[in-house]
Point group: C2
Chain length 206, copies 2
């Protein structure tokens, strides 16, 4: 599928639209409008219409959007109309919470590999997945062809692990380690750091 160049910020809103649409489906709804979505998301209806129009015509003037149809189109655009294998690096509290999280599969992801360096953890199972030695990570990921990883290791080792992930063929990394990562062009990294999010809000408090 060839797209014209769409701004990252527009792509960044699509998963949020998809989440809202999925919630509407769960609530038994069939049709929605850019106004309703906008109110739920705190985004203007005009912005939503403009974002979606980048990808084609998904609604009819006056009748709104068919929710199932729009959700399936956004899934297709985001390439989550399939299920991506995900490797988790780090079997601590965060890794554990990620493996236990029930919401990934329906959103396009399944955790298929877990790696850690602790002898206490290697060989134990998290759900049905055996924690493997981080020593074999590069080869195991390359062999499986995994493209997506979630990194939940201490900050001081994160960069060296990432270098290995990139060598192993990982192209998208969700980083829970509280440190910025340097990766080659073309490798995507997103960051989850609760303290950064909190600090972002305290600025506005009295």
């Amino acid at each position: 599928m060839q797209h014209k160049q769409i701004p990252d910020i527009v792509i960044g809103r699509l998963p949020v639209y998809l989440r809202a649409l999925t919630r509407l489906i769960e609530q038994g709804r069939q049709v929605t409008s850019s106004q309703e979505l906008g109110e739920r998301l705190g985004i203007s209806a005009a912005q939503i219409r403009k974002d979606l129009s980048q990808f084609g015509e998904f609604g009819k003037q006056g009748t709104g959007y068919n929710i199932e149809f729009l959700a399936s189109k956004i899934q297709e655009i985001l390439k989550v109309d399939r299920v991506w294998d995900v490797a988790v690096i780090g079997a601590g509290d965060v890794g554990h919470a990620l493996v236990n999280y029930g919401g990934f599969h329906e959103r396009g992801f399944q955790i298929t590999q877990i790696f850690d360096n602790s002898p206490d953890k290697i060989g134990t199972s998290y759900k049905d997945i055996v924690v493997q030695d981080i020593e074999v990570m590069r080869e195991a990921i390359r062999k499986a062809g995994t493209k997506v990883a979630m990194l939940a290791v201490p900050a001081n080792v994160a960069q060296e692990v990432v270098d290995q992930l990139v060598e192993a063929g990982i192209e998208a990394i969700l980083n829970y380690a509280p440190v910025n990562l340097v990766v080659p062009q073309g490798i995507r990294v997103q960051y989850i750091d609760p303290a950064v999010h909190l600090q972002n809000m305290t600025y506005y408090l009295d």
Copy 2:
């Protein structure tokens, strides 16, 4: 402290600068430059200089930034030169990982209250904090004067819990529930949803 209106996107980068500076301090460094910070963060040096110049003069042309001084100034700007009490709602896997996370205190936060609705969890301790019944949440938060909350409850109850948090005086919410929240003007919400972050990256994969 009175500031001129600074764009949210600039404020959003300050915690990332602070994290990088803290890492440099840990590495025993004393002076850095916008070039070095830029390389570590994948942001242009010019952008960093421009962002920081909004708040005053923190470096001298040619000699770079004193790291300790710049870090303490950013802490002051972000109001994390103090420690904020934080309430965690939901004592499941995510709540548990948050309580166990060792990195909050040095970054301006301490978890002081945990609430859940499960009889199995109420009365148990997470570290030194006793899980309280969500029924008493509103009163307990109001009494303690807590302003910051992290929400780790199921999506289908998140909005009603948030309504109570707002009534209780919470002004900043870090939301782990995979759903958008509607809050009154002036209440800040940030979102952590790993599936949204992952979907944001799969768009770019082949």
